[in-house]
């Protein structure tokens, strides 16, 4: 591991919903180019943690800090759930383009259109570009969400069980893409997953949430024993 810059610092972070503590005293440093897997049983607070990191939820205690400054970190987030109903009209291409807010004219510039085409290609959506996203399959939607998150070249990517509805081949393809960006462009990744083998294959670090506390370390230290203890006690 080279010494890269820290870009995200959680200090003694705690979150309590009324009468219901979720996690407590979580301190974590994420460096640029890190690939973290966040694991833990259903309802343990993984999504809540991600939303706290995104400033969508305010933590009860502690702080979330982006370094060197909030604005320097561009975040791509693929949420676990999104309400896209079957009648949702936009095509996959247009849905991805929504995230391009840099240029001020209503229509996309040529460079922006090329960028959308490129990401469509990278995520294997070329053939589906003109399909209304409301009519796309669950896995196709997931790919489109990932493409939207990536289109503006974020430096922090948060994936919340984004691979859960993908077939094994697609899963590997997309994570290979994420890994390429991780390696070549120092994209930092927080990957929430229940798929431990997948976490082992792709990430360097893990953060495990359990009802009794959190644990972190190098991915090699995430033994089966820990997984079972953490998830089944």
């Amino acid at each position: 591991m080279t010494t890269t810059q820290p870009i995200l610092q959680l200090d003694h972070l705690g979150m309590t919903f009324p009468g219901h503590p979720v996690f407590n005293d979580l301190t974590l440093t994420v460096h640029q180019g890190d690939f973290w897997s966040i694991v833990g049983e259903n309802g343990v607070g993984k999504t809540t943690l991600m939303r706290t990191i995104l400033h969508q939820l305010r933590p009860t205690t502690g702080t979330v800090r982006y370094l060197p400054g909030v604005n320097a970190v561009k975040i791509g987030y693929v949420p676990q759930f999104r309400n896209i109903d079957p009648e949702y009209p936009l095509t996959i291409r247009d849905f991805i383009g929504l995230n391009l807010t840099g240029w001020k004219l209503p229509w996309l510039s040529r460079r922006e259109r090329q960028r959308v085409t490129q990401i469509l290609h990278e995520t294997g959506l070329d053939r589906l570009a003109t399909r209304p996203i409301g009519q796309a399959s669950g896995g196709e939607k997931q790919k489109a969400y990932l493409a939207q998150a990536l289109v503006e070249q974020p430096n922090l990517l948060i994936l919340d069980e984004s691979t859960a509805s993908l077939d094994p081949v697609t899963k590997t393809e997309l994570l290979d893409l994420v890994t390429t960006l991780n390696r070549d462009l120092q994209l930092t990744v927080l990957f929430v997953t229940h798929d431990i083998p997948l976490a082992r294959k792709y990430s360097q670090h893990y953060l495990m949430l359990t009802p009794h506390g959190t644990e972190q370390g190098a991915i090699a230290e995430l033994t089966d024993q820990k997984v079972w203890r953490g998830e089944r006690v």
């Binding site: 975040i75 987030y77 949420p79 009648e87 009209p89 247009d94 929504l98 995230n99 391009l100 209503p106």
Partner: protein, 266 residues
């Protein structure tokens, strides 16, 4: 028909209204705000009645009421989940107030009918210019915030993650909507404005799959309804809002049927 000045004014006003409603309507539909639009139009009625009572123009009263209430409603919806019930209560209150103001103003029933159902005859050249200025203002603001508004309307989650000022956007949009409602009410009346602000865009959603495409189609559908409504009203002497409502509703149900047929065929 066009030899009458009032008809020329009505067509000019109708064209402006159709364009503004087509564009704003796409956002209204994407943001699921049909209900709120309905309420704003009732508030508009109340405002117009107040304008008459206070000796201003109905449009000024409408602008005042809809803009102020849109900011208030915006605050409500930003916070509370009980938006529908709260909005219903507000609209009941405003309809009541509208009736009160009208009776205080001592105007006869035909005045109320004009405000509620709109009128073709009442539109002066001055009104047309006023509407034009307001519409251009709305369109300019939409143009400036277009990409953000589009993102937030069509993917609220994504826009939030991006750190867009979604609350500020939401309030800005409501104010723009209030202005559009006031403009549109001039012809179709406050009772039926929400038709032009919702149905053409809701119809367009079934055929167009980009935001620009939906806007274009919604404008065309609104124009078709307004223009033919005006002609039919001129020929038959029946109220223009009836024709507009009927035509837009027919478009919408045809689209629904077509959609149904499409899915059945798959």
């Amino acid at each position: 028909m066009f030899s009458y000045e009032f008809m020329r004014n009505a067509f000019a006003a109708g064209t402006i209204i159709a364009i503004i409603c087509g564009i704003m309507g796409v956002f209204v539909i994407a943001r699921n705000m049909s209900f709120l639009t309905h309420t704003l139009s009732e508030i508009g009625f109340s405002g117009a009645a107040f304008g008459i009572f206070a000796g201003w123009s109905p449009l000024s009263g409408m602008l005042l009421f809809t803009v102020v209430s849109s900011v208030i409603v915006g605050q409500l919806s930003v916070r509370a989940e009980r938006r529908e019930a709260a909005t219903s209560a507000i609209s009941a209150l405003f309809i009541g107030l509208g009736i009160l103001f009208l009776s205080l103003a001592n105007k006869n029933a035909s005045y109320a009918t004009n405000i509620l159902f709109g009128s073709v005859i009442g539109i002066s050249t001055h009104d047309v210019y006023q509407m034009l200025v307001l519409s251009i203002l709305v369109l300019l603001v939409v143009l400036v915030i277009y990409r953000f508004l589009k993102f937030d309307s069509f993917d609220h989650t994504g826009a939030q993650v991006k750190g867009l000022w979604t609350n500020a956007l939401s309030v800005t949009f409501l104010v723009l909507l209030a202005l559009s409602v006031s403009v549109a009410a001039q012809i179709v009346g406050s009772l039926l404005i929400f038709i032009l602000l919702t149905l053409p865009a809701a119809t367009a959603k079934y055929f167009a799959h980009s935001v620009g495409g939906m806007m274009g189609l919604a404008i065309l559908l609104a124009l078709a309804g307004v223009w033919s409504g005006l002609v039919l009203s001129y020929v038959t002497n029946y109220p223009v809002s009836f024709f507009i409502a009927a035509i837009e509703a027919v478009f919408y149900f045809l689209a629904l049927g077509w959609q149904h047929f499409q899915t059945a065929a798959k």
